[in-house]
């Protein structure tokens, strides 16, 4: 099983990237987790540029999604919504909408925020966007509030409660991939 993990923040010491790192050991031993670090390289979406060869970072993201069995996205919350660059990346991914690589792909949305609500509004809006792309948005949630207090010096979650919630998200991804794989094999 291959999972593409996408942090929605661009900064080096991102809490959401740390959240994704914490998920690595929770996946089965035979799972491969690809952490995508190309978000900053994605140019602003311009339909005039969206023909023929896509920009390199866009092509890389589309290919990474297509190769993955599932996608795990950890998003911050900027002004009660999704970061613009993360939305922009999925605007590129979404074209053409009928055949975009997120269609039917299991995807889970989690997040961490320094606020008291853990970025729940951004997560809800990202789920809406992913639904519009035709993704199979998993009914799971993990919102880590006061993120600046939740990780130790090594980037590990300090609260076992959040680790358990993250494990539940991972289990849902594993189950969704297994179910989809079995379903596709049946109809092949």
């Amino acid at each position: 099983m291959r999972v593409l993990a996408i942090p929605g923040s661009l900064r080096n010491d991102s809490y959401n990237a740390k959240l994704l790192y914490n998920s690595v050991e929770l996946f089965p031993d035979d799972a491969v987790l690809d952490l995508w670090g190309g978000l900053k390289d994605v140019p602003p979406y311009d339909e005039d540029d969206d023909g023929g060869d896509a920009p390199a970072a866009v092509a890389e993201l589309r290919d990474a999604i297509a190769r993955a069995d599932a996608v795990l996205i950890a998003t911050p919350e900027y002004n009660h919504s999704i970061p613009g660059q993360l939305k922009n990346a999925f605007d590129w991914v979404s074209r053409p909408i009928a055949t975009n690589p997120m269609r039917n792909k299991p995807v889970a949305v989690i997040g961490a925020s320094t606020s008291s609500f853990g970025g729940v509004w951004a997560q809800a809006e990202l789920r809406k966007v992913l639904g519009a792309l035709g993704a199979r948005v998993l009914d799971v949630e993990l919102a880590v509030p006061h993120a600046h207090e939740r990780f130790d010096q090594f980037g590990r979650l300090t609260d076992q409660n959040f680790t358990e919630q993250l494990a539940a998200v991972v289990d849902s991804i594993v189950l969704a991939v297994a179910e989809r794989t079995a379903r596709l094999e049946l109809t092949a």
């Binding site: 909408i97 009928a98 639904g131 519009a132 035709g134 379903r183 596709l184």
Partner: protein, 179 residues
């Protein structure tokens, strides 16, 4: 006086004529009624003694609307989830006839959810076509709450009102040929 003993069609097995039959839907959307149909479906009517059975399936992937992006959205998990639930299905458990009026009680399955559903309509008297084949026609309709089947997508208007109605009419014009 109405009778429910009259059979819906002469005894035998009747197969759906897919070329002339139609299965479609209508739903209030924004300022009007949005209509679409399905291109691929199958159905069978069996009349045996005093019993009649009717069942049909519709391929979700055959949804026919004018925009390919809309078709893709309708097949996505937001709507019918064609990958996980490739067919809609109706199975009649009780068929009653009053003159040309038909009342069919059965089970409708959409997106993997099965609910009892009542369908009404009319039946056209059987005839023999120019090629010697016996035919009978059924015109059926029902209105369902799509959200009861897990088809719950919506988007609010600036007023806060939902843009898509919950109630959907499903209409079928069915031509049967005796097997």
């Amino acid at each position: 006086m109405s009778t429910t003993e009259t059979l819906i069609a002469p005894a035998g097995s009747w197969q759906l004529d897919p070329v002339h039959s139609q299965v479609g839907f209508e739903v209030a959307y924004l300022s009007g009624t949005f209509k679409g149909q399905f291109r691929e479906f199958d159905g069978r009517l069996v009349v045996d003694g005093n019993e009649a059975t009717l069942e049909g399936t519709v391929k979700v992937a055959s949804v026919d609307v004018k925009d390919e992006n809309l078709a893709a959205h309708l097949q996505s998990p937001d709507f019918f989830d064609a990958e996980q639930h490739p067919e809609l299905r109706f199975t009649a458990t009780q068929i009653s006839l009053d003159g040309e009026n038909v009342n069919v009680r059965g089970e409708l399955t959409i997106k993997g959810v099965t609910r009892p559903t009542e369908v009404t309509g009319t039946v056209a008297a059987p005839l023999t076509d120019a090629y010697g084949r016996e035919r009978v026609g059924l015109r059926l309709t029902t209105t369902v709450d799509r959200t009861a089947f897990g088809v719950s997508w919506n988007i609010p208007l600036p007023s806060g009102e939902p843009s898509l109605a919950d109630d959907v009419s499903i209409n079928a014009e069915l031509f049967f040929i005796k097997a």
